[in-house]
């Protein structure tokens, strides 16, 4: 059998997490291009390491990895909890730390008859309320979730909280903390087995 240096495709989340994740790889000693000159590029090569980065929306990283078009990827635990995909979760990178919580207007209670929850995370939200024995109606939104209680669409929201500043500025308070979130290194099950040595080596270097 010939051992060839396979190119490794890494799915990276665009936006806020990207910088942090990229910095982590640089700190682990990987020889990556200094600057990503053109932020509109969707595919970036790192020839010295044999890496190819694909830049995807954070919610889509596990999709690329599950289908095997990316070998490994960096995804937030929030996305992994929401989607339950068939992937290996290899390492907690301890970056982009935040948590998912419920929030709403101060001193309000959930409507008993038709409790309505607005969220970007319908799966996480419905599991949380079910675990407390409450059946709720989930309203799925794609952004600016804080609006929902302010204009009467829902009594509670389930959303990511990192500093709590956004909640405060909009007059909302946090009610229950649901789960802590960090970014994780994930791998496609087939890639993990075919390129196990290489992937484990990356895990070890990032662990330090």
């Amino acid at each position: 059998m010939v051992k060839k240096m396979d190119k490794l495709t890494i799915a990276m989340p665009k936006g806020r997490i990207f910088e942090e994740a990229y910095e982590l790889l640089v700190q682990a000693g990987f020889d990556l291009p200094e600057e990503l000159d053109d932020s509109r590029k969707l595919i970036v090569e790192a020839p010295n390491e044999g890496f190819r980065f694909i830049l995807a929306k954070p919610m889509d990283v596990p999709v690329y990895v599950e289908h095997g078009v990316a070998d490994i990827g960096i995804a937030g635990k929030d996305v992994l909890l929401e989607q339950t995909r068939d992937i290996h979760e290899l390492l907690d990178l301890n970056i982009s730390r935040c948590y998912i919580a419920t929030a709403g207007l101060p001193d309000t209670k959930i409507d008993i008859m038709t409790p309505r929850i607005a969220t970007k995370y319908p799966e996480v939200a419905s599991q949380f309320f079910r675990s407390r024995g409450e059946q709720v109606e989930i309203i799925e939104l794609n952004g600016s979730i804080e609006l929902a209680p302010m204009i009467g669409l829902a009594e509670r929201i389930v959303d990511i909280v990192s500093t709590g500043k956004t909640l405060k500025e909009n007059g909302l308070v946090e009610y229950d903390k649901i789960v802590d979130i960090t970014s994780r290194l994930i791998a496609n099950p087939v890639s993990f087995r075919l390129k196990q040595q290489r992937i484990e080596e990356i895990v070890e270097r990032l662990r330090k």
Partner: protein, 387 residues
């Protein structure tokens, strides 16, 4: 021209002629090898009772296609082949001959809940070796599966082997509660190393045990399993020794470089009771197939016999197989009314010599150039020049 769209149910696919052709080659090659190993091909009905096959098969309830028959009984479209074959073996075949070797090439149905990219109906081929509890039966099915891959020229394949019973014994050997073992096992099934390591960290056990368990999801060689085996435990020791015997057989057959031994590799299917394995290949992002020993399933049919086998996914094998390079010779004869008899004779002669010939009445073809370009050879018997 506006093309009207007629849609198919979610997850259902059409196979176009080129795929059908590749599939028929694949099935012929696979069936030939299974038969050469002494397996007899079996076909079972597409519909089964929900009460038996639906419940016994390891496929989640919400993935079953259910319907009612005219008596009001709930039926399912078969979601796998292992349980129907166990049903047949339990009710009939085993009385005649033991051990029994059965092979299949069949479509199975699993409803898709989320998005596209996954078929709801797909073909599987595989074997079941029922009535043999020895490791030689386990070795035989692994060798047979790899033989099929070799024949299909699937490259850089890899097999991962675990052992569900040994894993269970090892975890019990650490004195863990059943509920904790179940949790650890489910993190292994979910391939969630982060949650597994956190769970181990939270356990109140000896530091050296903790350290050993932390590494359990990292093993790739059978020798490494030694770190977790309790050598004073006879069951563990004998299962571990059997794995070495299995490995020796696989190594002797040239598989040494292709097998990963991972004790933490296990299945959500609870009926597996011994060695379990999964096969991967370059070109498909999903496993090509899996198998293992499932004595537990036979018990559900009231039989206390051993059984082992595997299933390969035809759709994924197609992705992992090298693309067809040889262009098949496809001849076209275009004829007109005048030359019809001559064209028939020519086609007959060519077909007898083994060629594929399409006979087409020329005036019925509107775009003749485009149509002709689909063939490797065009013979014109319609009064026009060849060329």
């Amino acid at each position: 021209m506006l093309i009207q769209m007629f849609e198919k149910p979610l997850g259902m696919r059409d196979d176009f002629p080129s795929i059908v052709k590749r599939k028929s080659k694949l099935s012929a090659a696979g069936i030939q090898i299974m038969e050469q190993y002494g397996y007899e091909m079996l076909q079972t009905p597409s519909l089964e009772y929900y009460e038996t096959i639906g419940k016994i098969s390891a496929i989640a309830d919400n993935q079953l296609f259910k319907l009612l028959d005219n008596q009001g009984q709930t039926l399912v479209l078969r979601p796998d082949m292992t349980s129907p074959i166990a049903r047949v073996a339990a009710s009939k075949l085993l009385k005649e001959k033991m051990p029994v070797r059965l092979g299949y090439y069949s479509n199975v149905f699993r409803a898709q809940l989320r998005e596209g990219g996954r078929p709801a109906e797909f073909e599987q081929m595989g074997v079941e070796l029922i009535g043999d509890e020895s490791l030689y039966a386990d070795a035989e099915v692994i060798l047979l599966a790899t033989e099929i891959l070799r024949k299909l020229r699937v490259e850089s394949g890899r097999i991962v082997i675990g052992h569900t019973q040994l894993l269970q014994q090892v975890l019990r050997g650490y004195g863990l509660e059943e509920a904790v073992i179940e949790k650890l096992r489910s993190e292994m099934v979910a391939k969630n190393k982060v949650a597994y390591e956190n769970l181990i960290e939270s356990l109140a056990i000896r530091p050296d045990a903790k350290k050993a368990l932390q590494k359990m999801m990292n093993a790739t060689r059978l020798e490494e399993w030694k770190d977790w085996i309790d050598e004073t435990d006879e069951i563990q020791l004998s299962l571990y020794e059997d794995m070495f015997k299995l490995k020796a057989i696989l190594d002797r057959n040239g598989l040494e470089e292709f097998v990963t031994y991972d004790l933490s590799f296990t299945s959500h299917m609870t009926y597996y009771t011994g060695m379990v394995f999964e096969i991967y290949g370059e070109g498909s992002g999903f496993p090509l197939g899996n198998g293992g020993r499932y004595d537990g399933l036979m018990k559900q049919f009231g039989l206390h016999v051993g059984a082992t086998g595997f299933g390969l996914r035809v759709d994924r094998l197609l992705e992992a197989m090298p693309a067809e390079t040889e262009q098949l010779q496809q001849a076209l004869i275009l004829f007109n009314e005048e030359n019809e008899e001559k064209a028939q004779a020519e086609a007959k002669k060519m077909r007898e010599s083994g060629l594929t010939v399409t006979l087409q009445f020329a005036p019925a073809v509107k775009a003749q150039n485009e149509f002709s370009s689909l063939f490797s050879k065009v013979i014109r018997l319609d009064g026009e020049e060849n060329g």
